[in-house]
């Protein structure tokens, strides 16, 4: 851009002009001139202006017009660009903000990390390796414990397995404790009911949940309590199974607890099932830590 000041002889005297300031003097200027764009895309715009001191100034702006490489619009589309607005769009004020660019960066979320799939296919190429990896380890019957022979649902010994024990959800102490306290008029919290047995029922209930309790983590989302019971029952009598469910989504949070009647059974279950492949995930089974409070 070049700016050249040209002092051109003017017909009017500056002194006369000073008097009527505020008046628009642009009519005294020659009109704006546009030259080009030529074959090199050079466009010249010549304008005349009064500067602050009242002198006439000639401004020449030289620009180069470039065509964008990726702008491959058809002639019709370019024409449509200049169509006048119609319908409700006519009265659109600037503040309407109907069209906004998201403030959030949205990505195409891949279901698995890129690249992880390639390894899998490499393994799949070798049939022997696949047998060792996918078949034998993962296909473990949870009823009879046979590896690589059949799935749990197809177990031929299914009927021979002992039927699942019914849970006793309510501790039996609850019933008589409640019966003891009703005669009094004032409210008595359940833990205080039944007079002398106060601390017994409270601590007893808590101990029930913590006794021989095994924590199972890295469960798949589809695992439900009956599945967990099915998995742990072969090790001994199970008194309680619990899978943590997200209240909001209704999906499993991926961990649960199993209580055994006998401590030895729990220990055996931990030794056996820690690191066991279940539903394409490796289970982690350990003693449940007592709650901090």
């Amino acid at each position: 851009m070049t700016v050249e000041a040209a002092t051109q002889p003017s017909k009017l005297r500056w002194g006369e002009l000073e008097e009527d300031d505020g008046e628009d003097l642009d009519f005294l200027l020659p009109p704006k001139q546009v030259i080009g764009p030529d074959e090199n895309g050079i466009k010249k715009v010549v304008e005349y202006k009064f500067n602050d001191e009242g002198n006439k100034v000639k401004i020449t702006t030289t620009t180069r017009i470039r065509k964008l490489a990726n702008a491959r619009l058809s002639k019709r589309a370019v024409e449509r660009r200049s169509w006048p607005k119609f319908g409700d769009a006519v009265h659109e004020d600037v503040g309407a903000r109907l069209t906004m660019v998201s403030t959030e960066e949205i990505l195409l979320e891949r279901p698995r990390a890129p690249g992880s799939k390639q390894e899998e296919t490499k393994v799949a190429g070798d049939p022997l390796a696949q047998m060792g990896k996918g078949g034998a380890v993962l296909m473990v019957c949870r009823t009879c414990g046979k590896k690589g022979d059949h799935w749990t649902s197809r177990c031929p010994y299914k009927d021979l397995a002992q039927p699942s024990e019914t849970f006793i959800d309510k501790p039996p102490s609850d019933a008589n404790a409640a019966a003891g306290g009703v005669t009094k008029g004032a409210y008595v919290p359940p833990s205080m009911r039944g007079g002398g047995t106060t601390e017994r029922s409270g601590t007893d209930m808590r101990r029930r949940n913590e006794e021989n309790s095994v924590r199972v983590t890295n469960l798949s989302e589809d695992t439900r309590e009956p599945d967990l019971l099915e998995l742990f029952r072969p090790f001994g009598a199970v008194s309680r199974v619990y899978v943590a469910i997200d209240q909001k989504t209704g999906t499993s949070r991926g961990f649960g607890f199993v209580n055994f009647v006998n401590r030895e059974d729990a220990e055996r279950a931990i030794n056996k099932l820690n690191g066991y492949g279940y539903d394409n995930l490796i289970l982690r089974v350990e003693w449940a830590a007592p709650r901090a409070n």
Binding site: L73, A77, R80, G87, M100, E104, L107, L108, E109, K248
Partner: protein, 326 residues
């Protein structure tokens, strides 16, 4: 990518359509005004005022001069794209659901819903070049399928019409005689109502999306099932990339269940699948409600999704989208 959000509609979106050059995007919603947007920056060009009910679908002529819309006010209207003025109105006895222009823009197929004892029907109308010569009579009316016909489109060379709807059967009709030529069979076909149908760019195959949580790819001539894409949620909208071997499925849980569950449970994503391997490539999140409409720009470099939330989201792909490998 940073999608462009277009909030021109006050009610859920029902349909999206790009013109052939890919510079205009037409959106239909349950509010009564179809809207046209510039597809590059999302600026609103105009609205088409005149319908008196939800607008279910639209189609635009090859030269982008004429728009046809079908609405629940029992009419289908022809519009001047540039000025937004209605040119002609087809009157029916029941709400119109789907409209599709034939190659050459001389014929249109319009479907009507079952209503007040009337059964659903597929009407073929002649479209006159000069609006003054336009007549309302149907060339042909096809009846037979039970329930709503959610989509009817033209087959190759305008010789056939492909219809799909609530009875979850895909049908191919002869567009001249009105004879039923082919029907999808029980084993291959969808198990629940078909909500959407989209043709490939070359017109050799088409994709149907259904509430049975799957989408199926069919050969347009033989009606042979080519592929099935399985997803976790009912599919409300389908689209196929004209550039890459990708299909996009949109959906989400039932709108009535949205407020009772966490937003994470909804899964209101546009899911990308590899067309050939039927494997999921990824998902694009953003809508607050189920996705009701999807459309790919004819250049394959952007796509638009319309949701129950009333927003149109315009996504221009990042360069790395074009290098995705499975």
């Amino acid at each position: 990518m940073r999608p462009i959000l277009m909030k021109g509609h006050e009610r859920p979106l029902t349909f999206l359509k790009y013109n052939r050059d890919g510079d205009l995007l037409f959106s239909c919603a349950k509010d009564h005004n179809p809207t046209v947007w510039f597809a590059d920056n999302g600026e609103r060009l105009g609205t088409y005022r005149g319908h008196n009910g939800a607008v279910w679908s639209c189609d635009v002529s090859r030269d982008s001069a004429m728009l046809i819309t079908g609405s629940a006010d029992q009419t289908a209207k022809i519009w001047n794209v540039k000025t937004g003025t209605p040119v002609y109105t087809f009157n029916f006895d029941s709400p119109t659901r789907s409209v599709d222009l034939a190659v050459g823009d001389k014929l249109a197929v319009i479907t009507t819903d079952p209503f007040m004892g009337l059964t659903s029907a597929i009407h073929i109308k002649q479209i006159a070049r000069d609006p003054d010569d336009q007549i309302g009579e149907s060339v042909l009316t096809l009846k037979g399928p039970q329930g709503r016909i959610n989509r009817a489109v033209w087959g190759p060379l305008n010789r056939t019409i492909i219809s799909a709807g609530e009875d979850s059967v895909v049908r191919i009709w002869d567009s001249e005689t009105g004879k039923l030529l082919k029907e999808s069979d029980k084993e291959d076909g969808h198990k629940k109502p078909i909500t959407s149908l989209s043709k490939s760019t070359d017109g050799s195959h088409f994709l149907t999306g259904s509430l049975d949580k799957s989408a199926k790819l069919w050969d347009i001539r033989t009606l042979a099932l080519i592929k099935t894409y399985v997803t976790e949620r009912p599919v409300n909208a389908v689209a196929m990339s004209p550039l890459l071997n990708h299909v996009v499925l949109g959906g989400g849980q039932d709108a009535s269940a949205v407020t009772t569950t966490d937003h994470r449970a909804g899964k209101f994503e546009a899911k990308f699948y590899d067309k050939i391997l039927t494997e999921e490539i990824g998902g694009v999140k953003g809508h607050f409600g189920p996705i009701n409409a999807l459309a790919f720009n004819p250049d394959g470099r952007s796509f638009a999704s319309g949701g129950e939330d009333g927003y149109v989201r315009l996504h221009h792909f990042d360069p790395d989208y074009f290098n995705i490998k499975i």
